[in-house]
Amino acid sequence: MELFRDVNVDWLGKKWYFLAFSLVFSVAGVLSILFWHGIKLGIDFRGGTLVYVQFDQPPNPDRIRQAMDRAGIHDSRIVPYGTAAQKQVAISLAQKETQESALDTGRQTIVQALNTNYSSGGGANQGKVDLDNASQGTLAQFLQQNDPEHLASIGGGAQKYAEQAAAILNHRDHDLDGIFSSIDQLNGVADPAVVGLLKQSAYLSGFHVFAADIIGPQVGAALRKQALMATLYSLAGMLVYLWFRFELIYGVAAVVAVFHDTLITVGAFSLSNQEITLTVIAAILTLIGYSMNDTIVVFDRIRENLRISRRETLTNVVNRSINQTLSRTVLTSGLTFLTVLSLYLFGGEVLHGFSFALVIGILIGTYSSIAVAAPMLVAYQDWRAKRGKKAVLPAGKKARV
């Protein structure tokens, strides 16, 4: 099977369309960054508190917001997390409520507010243990204190109850996906005496805090700086490598193309009002490497062709090189796109931003090697010709490998 055979497209003839296309997307992104949604940073960069909660019943954001308001938290953001069937929400607080001296208070307030508004039984739960949120240590200690199997005199209670607690929580976290709907679900998981005790003196809060991130302002600032530096260093590193392997102009063209991709990807995050987190930055750095790959494949071919046909105009050589590598470009991008799409569709909520960045980035990265990097080489040569310099693009240093 073959998709592209003897393609002969005049890519450079379409450079004005490309320019228009790139401009529209970059400018839309930049406008959105400047005037519309801005760049929405995740709490790892902003600093703040983020609590992930799973509910027994489908959560109602308004009810949660009211609960937060009553607890004195007025600027919480409540967004559904994952699919509707998972009944999860992420509750976040901005940085100003997350101080370094009392990093944990935001989380505690959220949990307390949920507890007063969601737990059945309310005040009657005083002194009882919350099975939905109990940690293994707490539960084991609770069992040992109450000693339902009367092991205190025989001994071995500590180990026995630690095992029971582990079994109960393993059932909750792995078999039931984090939350009980009834204490009866413990029948057969733990010893009858233990289940009996828990039925009496444990309760289900109806929610389960399954993850929390609390990031102080200092770390947020450091991570922001780090992400920016990493992106810049990685661009600089590639520029230097291409300079060494080809010529400076190749490096510059490739870096401009990659910068174009980064800009459009970040713009896409702004347009779709999604948060940029640490993993998104990792995706953007990968995308830089990926887009660079694509550009280099085309450049390598240009260099090779320049060496064998010195009389041909640069425009022709570049066109021919793009056409010759087109099949590979489309195939590889297509296949990588396939894997990334699989990640986007099946990889779950945690990787959503990451795979979104790559889905956009791979499309744009492939486009930019053909439509931005290669035309820049020709434009550079035209510019040199106008200034009366030697009108031949240097073929680049001889490949050393």
Binding site: M1, Y52, E100, L103, D104, S135, Q136, G137, D173, H174, G178, F210, A211, A212, D213, I214, I215, G216, V219, L223, Q226, S234, G237, M238, Y241, L242, R245, L278, T279, I281, A282, T286, I288, G289, M292, N293, I296, D300, R301, E304, S327, R328, L331, T332, G334, L335, T336, L338, T339, V340, L341, S342, F346, G347, G348, V350, L351, F354, S355, A399
Partner: protein
């Protein structure tokens, strides 16, 4: 044949890397073997991730506090006592000021200060027979480094006293003097937090005045502004009459931190919990001298910068004492802290993340599902598009994956969720090298070359490009590794391992498969490459 053996050997080595030697057969034995070798990151396993800041300037301050006493004693012994020795600015813990040395002994003072303190301090004379000692930068640095190291050790001991948590405690590269604590599989944040955060900085200060109802009243009692050698501290014990009151204390403690050798929770004659402490021998001697000279004055026991109790000195105390006014938990905690070693400085929390086990399990399920679907899609496509050569690519791809996971098993690298994404990307990008080569071979075949020559030329031409593309991706992976933290680092690791594995499989293995196919073919028979 030799090459085939080499490839099989590599395969076996890396399969061993992934599984080790499983204890038994059956899926569960293999699964345990797998999880023994490949470590899961906190985001997959669940656990607590903390970033702590060590307030190192406190350690520097404690060191200069100590030096103030020594300078005073040295000058006294030399026969040229200073009017006062103090730390002029609480914000500059490295600075000591000596005021009013005898005007006729300038030379002696200078030579004494230079010989005793010249190594750690820069000695400068100032007008009016004053001197300043500024701790040298190298000395400040070494104290800070020691403080961070000691904090790491102490936190490690404390966490280990809680149970078998397999903690990672190390310096964190994001900022200065920060510590990273990772506790896989633990979700009991409050317990861990309590034990790490109690600095249990126990000190005994001389009381200048108090108790006062407000901070202002306390300051008024010493003339409106608190002089540099004094400090105002709030009451933090459980005596009802003293709640919300303030004391004025001498800033420099008589005994502190390392001077305490041990403490035990006990019960006083009225059955209330308290703690007995024992001082180290040196500190005991010093404390004896001090208390004998100050009978009738008041001492305050200060815990974490709050006055725990204040009492009159009724007799000289050598090395044992009792602290009352503690709750039962506080007494127990305090004695645990003093036994495991005090933190050299207090600890601030900068970041806390807790990942519950249910989220981790869900992430693994989804990540693996996405990887399998992505991989199947790629493999099926390669078969359809390249026919026989597609099998070649698929074999290379599978070997690539085995080598990648084997690398992780051998190196003890941690697999994180972004790391799984790295594996998936490696699949996509790994196939790129094959596509480059196959497309080139097709081109050469179209140009009329014989299969053997086409394969040779195809690999030759594609090799240059493959090197370039791999190097640039490795550059970005290295930068990610250097700058990234936690999960992102895991991603960089899998990505780079995947790239190295890919160089081997796509170029060497795939070439070898082509060569062995060509050898069996008749001259002129076509190559199956779609």
């Amino acid at each position: 044949m030799r090459k085939t053996l080499l490839i099989v050997a590599v395969l076996l080595v890396f399969v061993f890397g992934i599984f080790g030697i499983p204890k038994g057969v059956g899926p569960s034995a293999w699964k345990t073997a797998l999880t023994d070798r490949i470590h899961l990151g906190l985001d997959l396993k669940g656990g607590i991730h903390l970033v702590l800041q060590v307030m190192v300037q406190e350690a520097v301050s404690a060191e200069t506090d100590n030096a103030v006493g020594r300078v005073q004693a040295d000058l006294q012994q030399g026969g040229f006592p200073a009017r006062s020795v103090l730390k002029p600015d609480p914000k500059k813990p490295e600075l000591i000021q000596i005021q009013g040395t005898p005007p006729d002994r300038v030379g002696d003072v200078r030579s004494l200060l230079d010989s005793r303190y010249g190594a750690q301090y820069t000695v400068a004379s100032e007008p009016n027979n004053n001197w300043t000692l500024t701790m040298k930068q190298t000395e400040v640095q070494s104290i800070e480094e020691r403080a961070v190291q000691q904090s790491i050790d102490t936190i490690g001991t404390r966490i280990n006293s809680l149970g078998n948590y397999e903690p990672t405690i190390q310096e964190y590269n994001l900022g200065t003097n920060q510590i990273l604590v990772e506790l896989p599989g633990v979700d009991d944040l409050s317990r861990v937090r309590d034990i790490i955060q109690s600095t249990a900085r126990l000190e005994i200060h001389l009381v200048v005045g108090g108790p006062f109802p407000t901070e202002q009243a306390a300051a008024q009692s010493v003339g409106g502004t608190v002089p540099p050698e004094d400090v105002v501290m709030a009451y933090g014990g459980n005596e009802p009459d003293l709640q919300g009151q303030y004391f004025v204390l001498q800033r420099i403690p008589q005994v502190a931190g390392d001077d305490f050798r041990d403490a035990q929770p006990s019960v006083d004659e009225n059955g209330r919990p308290d703690a007995t402490f024992i001082l180290s021998r040196n500190a005991g001697d010093r404390f004896y001298q001090f208390t004998s000279a100050n009978i009738g004055k008041s001492l305050a026991v200060v815990l974490d910068n709050r006055v725990q109790e204040a009492a009159n000195i009724q007799q000289a105390i050598r090395d044992q004492g009792r602290i009352t006014g503690l709750g039962k938990d506080k007494a127990q905690n305090l004695s645990l802290m003093l036994r495991t070693g005090a933190l050299p400085a207090s600890i601030h929390y900068l970041q806390e993340s807790v990942v519950g086990p249910s989220l981790g399990a869900d992430s693994i399920r989804r990540g693996v599902l996405a990887a399998i679907i992505g991989m199947l899609a790629v493999m099926i496509f390669m078969l359809i598009y390249y026919h026989g050569a597609g099998i070649n690519a698929d074999l290379a791809l599978m070997l690539n994956l085995i080598i990648l996971l084997g690398f992780m098993g051998f190196s003890g690298a941690t697999l994180t969720l972004p790391g799984i994404a790295g594996v998936i990307l490696t699949i996509g990008m790994g196939v790129d090298s094959n596509v480059l080569i196959f497309e080139r071979i097709r081109e050469e075949l179209r140009a009329g070359k014989a299969p053997a020559a086409a394969v040779d030329q195809g690999f030759g031409h594609a090799w240059v490009t493959i090197v370039d593309t791999h190097v640039t991706t490795i550059v970005s992976a290295i930068i990610l590794f250097l700058f990234g933290t936690g999960p992102v680092k895991g991603f960089a690791v899998t990505l780079s391992f995947g790239l190295f594995a890919n160089l081997f499989t796509a170029v060497f293995v795939s070439r070898h498969i082509f060569d062995s196919i060509l050898k069996r073919k008749q001259r002129g028979e076509a190559l199956s490459i779609g």
